[in-house]
């Protein structure tokens, strides 16, 4: 098949067709706008992260200065906020903000990163309820459709561009009558369709990857070449899926209008209806407990705990006999009591949140099982995973935050119970959070699965199209 000849002719045809050139231009603008939007988000997130880090340093410095001052005979700024008290230092005043840096390709796919919290204020009072709070209050429209980022344009809009370019590659030639002259040359219909699709794929994939790589270049994501490669593979496989689908529809030898209707229907089904259907089904089958319910449980537990402080303390000391000797001073006693109440609340909360976590996991399992229904779901999963803005990186962040929260508590609670005063000397020993990112290998291993499924679907559709096209010998 003289591929080069068809490619050159298609380039001429495209250049001569103002409408198509305009469509391409509009999409180039959409891609560029999406990239700018993603970069704006990354800028915002980076700023927030930087200011949280600054806050950590400033807070610790102020506390250290106050402690040194007190040790030198000064008095605390307020008797209720005395940093010598472990519950103050580990609680309200010394809280450490654990932050998640934007992923290396967040500029390409904001994904869930504007929805899921990327920073938590960790103190000894941090519990499951605070981990379930969302950091940002968002525009509901953004929550609904996600941010207008490159991943959104690739998953939702790029198929439309592909369909606009490819719905009539064969039917159009037949309707315009040029197919007769084409097929009277030593070429096959299959070869012609393949070459025409190849040209369009070069244009669309070139555009999508070009803008992606530009984004990577500008936002410095080349530090993660594995993720970049994964992103490019997912974009290419997803685009090729739509091209082969268009080729298959063309192979049915119907009119261009019929092709367009069927392909737009397929877009609606695969990109809009099925993903929404899977999410709705997951929500119906495994409904999450309401947040109001959680807050009520938290308040009840906390009231109860306050009412039964002494009882709780007795019970707590039964559980922790080693602490009993330490509870001497009245102040420490009060702190220990308060701590016992906190723990009781946390225990109740854990029961509720365990249920929440289980149902969330069930939902995710269901979504994972049915993502094979739609190449859009597979592509989105692979893209977000590559960008580090999918569920996985956030789950990892949350679990590390939990560990850190435990570490923080373990640092302060013995001192609270023992009523030990804190000194300036502990400041340098305070735990600090540092997110450990997943190695690219692990990301690749996980994303390989949806990517392989996508490639499989693409090959099946491509094979079916090739088989049908082989039977087309004439222009009729």
């Amino acid at each position: 098949m003289p591929l080069g000849i068809v490619l050159r002719n298609e380039r001429r045809l495209l250049a001569a067709d103002r409408a198509l050139a305009a469509v391409l231009g509009v999409f180039a603008l959409l891609f560029a706008y999406a990239l700018l939007n993603g970069m704006a988000w990354v800028g915002f997130q980076e700023e927030t992260v930087a200011s949280a880090r600054e806050g950590n340093v400033e807070r610790v410095e102020a506390l250290e200065a106050e402690l040194v001052d007190i040790e030198n005979g000064g008095s605390p700024s307020s008797p209720f906020r005395d940093p010598r008290s472990a519950s103050v230092l580990g609680g309200a005043r010394g809280a450490h903000t654990a932050v998640l840096e934007p992923g290396p390709l967040t500029a390409l796919a904001v994904g869930q990163s504007d929805l899921l919290p990327y920073y938590y204020d960790i103190s000894i009072y941090t519990n499951e309820s605070s981990l379930l709070q969302n950091g940002e209050i968002e525009n509901p429209l953004n929550l609904l459709i996600g941010r207008f980022d490159l991943a959104f344009v690739v998953v939702y809009l790029m198929p439309l561009l592909i369909l606009a370019l490819g719905f009539n590659v064969l039917s159009g030639e037949r309707e315009r009558g040029t197919l007769a002259l084409t097929l009277s040359q030593p070429v096959s219909a299959r070869g012609v369709v393949a070459a025409k699709m190849a040209f369009r794929a070069l244009v669309v994939v070139g555009l999508a990857l070009g803008v992606s790589l530009l984004g990577v270049l500008v936002s410095g994501g080349f530090g993660a070449p594995g993720r970049v490669a994964l992103w490019c593979a997912a974009v290419t496989a997803y685009a090729l899926f739509w091209f082969t689908l268009a080729a298959w529809v063309n192979s049915l030898s119907r009119s261009s209008a019929w092709n367009a209707t069927v392909l737009v229907g397929a877009w609606l089904l695969l990109v809009v209806v099925l993903p929404a259907g899977v999410n709705i089904t997951a929500g119906l089958l495994h409904p999450l407990p309401s947040r109001v319910e959680m807050i009520t449980v938290q308040r009840e537990a906390s009231n109860e705990a306050v009412n039964q402080r002494s009882e709780l303390l007795a019970r707590y000391l039964e559980d922790h006999p080693e602490m009993a000797g330490g509870v001497v001073a009245e102040e420490a006693n009060r702190a220990a009591l308060a701590w016992a109440a906190t723990e009781a609340v946390n225990e109740r909360l854990e029961e509720v949140t365990a249920d929440y976590g289980e149902r969330l996991a069930d939902q995710q399992t269901l979504v994972r099982r049915y993502r094979f229904l739609s190449p859009a779901l597979l592509a989105q999963e692979a893209l977000l995973d590559a960008a580090g803005t999918g569920d996985a990186r956030f789950a990892r962040f949350q679990s590390q935050v939990r560990e850190f929260s435990d570490e923080w508590r373990a640092f302060f609670v013995p001192a609270i119970l023992a009523g030990e005063p804190m000194s300036a000397g502990v400041i340098p020993r305070l735990p600090a959070f540092d997110f450990r990112d997943e190695p690219t290998r692990a990301v690749a291993a996980r994303a390989a699965f949806p990517l392989a499924a996508l490639t499989g679907i693409l090959l099946i559709v491509g094979f079916a199209a090739a088989r049908r096209l082989r039977r087309i010998t004439g222009p009729a």
């Binding site: 000849i5 002719n9 045809l13 040029t178 007769a180 002259l181 084409t182 040359q185 030593p186």
Partner: protein, 266 residues
């Protein structure tokens, strides 16, 4: 008055200088016992037909006689249900690409890419035909030789008349040095002048040794430019004669007699 120096006598002189192909030359288009059915309808039944180099074979017949079906089987657009078709010795069913390399096709409406120029269209189709290396100068020459005004060569095809598009179709045949040319009612809808120009054009190709099969309703053109005439009816060839054999006889009479036979038989 004019006729003594008119095209007919000119043609007669040329025909004398470039006689029809020798009867023993190997045919460039050959159908043997060709059968093509559409469901229950037998569109072509047991057709034997051969066109030799330097021959213009005019296929006459009413609509539905099987003329276009025959041409489409030569092109490999349709697969025969029986018998075989060969182009320059290549069995079309088995070796369609080799066959298509050696033939050119001018349908009733030559449909080109409207947004491209005549030259760009020729460049594309000639390249597809295996002639990628032709220079722009050579391609322009071919178009002008085919009768396209030099000024039109670089204009978009959307501005072309039907006759001009036919000329691009012929130019494709010339560019790919086709051994066989298949014409499906090429002159229908052309004005008499364009129609005559077209006849002259294919006569030029014939003299170069191209074997031409032309399906037509135009009895006048058939007698004027054909070297042999076949009359098809209901998928079979009912009469075949050289234009010399027809001589001064009335082709229309012969044709209509064959058609009446059908009606009488009914």
């Amino acid at each position: 008055m004019q006729s003594a120096t008119g095209p007919a006598s000119e043609r007669a002189r040329e025909a004398a200088r470039f006689p029809s192909a020798a009867p023993d030359a190997a045919p460039v288009l050959e159908a043997r016992a060709l059968v093509k059915r559409y469901g229950d309808l037998e569109a072509v039944s047991n057709l034997d037909l051969a066109v030799r180099p330097g021959e213009i074979y005019c296929l006459l017949g009413p609509n539905g006689a099987g003329k276009t079906t025959t041409i489409h089987t030569f092109l490999g657009f349709l697969e025969p249900d029986g018998g075989s078709v060969r182009v320059a010795g290549f069995d079309v069913t088995r070796n369609v690409l080799q066959a298509r390399r050696r033939l050119a096709y001018v349908p009733e409406q030559v449909m080109l890419y409207r947004n491209l120029t005549g030259l760009e269209n020729l460049e594309y189709f000639a390249a597809l035909g295996g002639w990628e290396t032709l220079t722009t100068t050579r391609l322009t020459e071919i178009l002008v030789d085919a009768g396209l005004p030099r000024g039109a060569v670089g204009r978009r095809v959307s501005t072309y008349s039907k006759g001009m598009r036919q000329k691009v179709g012929i130019a494709i045949a010339v560019a790919k040095e086709a051994e066989a040319l298949l014409l499906d009612e090429p002159t229908s809808g052309l004005d008499p002048k364009a129609s005559r120009e077209f006849s002259e054009l294919i006569e030029k190709l014939r003299r170069r040794g191209v074997g031409i099969l032309m399906a037509t309703h135009d009895l006048f053109r058939a007698k004027e430019s054909g070297t042999r005439i076949g009359i098809m009816r209901s998928g079979t060839l009912v009469n075949e004669m050289t234009t010399e054999e027809i001589g001064h006889a009335d082709l229309e009479r012969i044709y209509l007699d064959h058609m009446h036979e059908v009606e009488a038989a009914k």
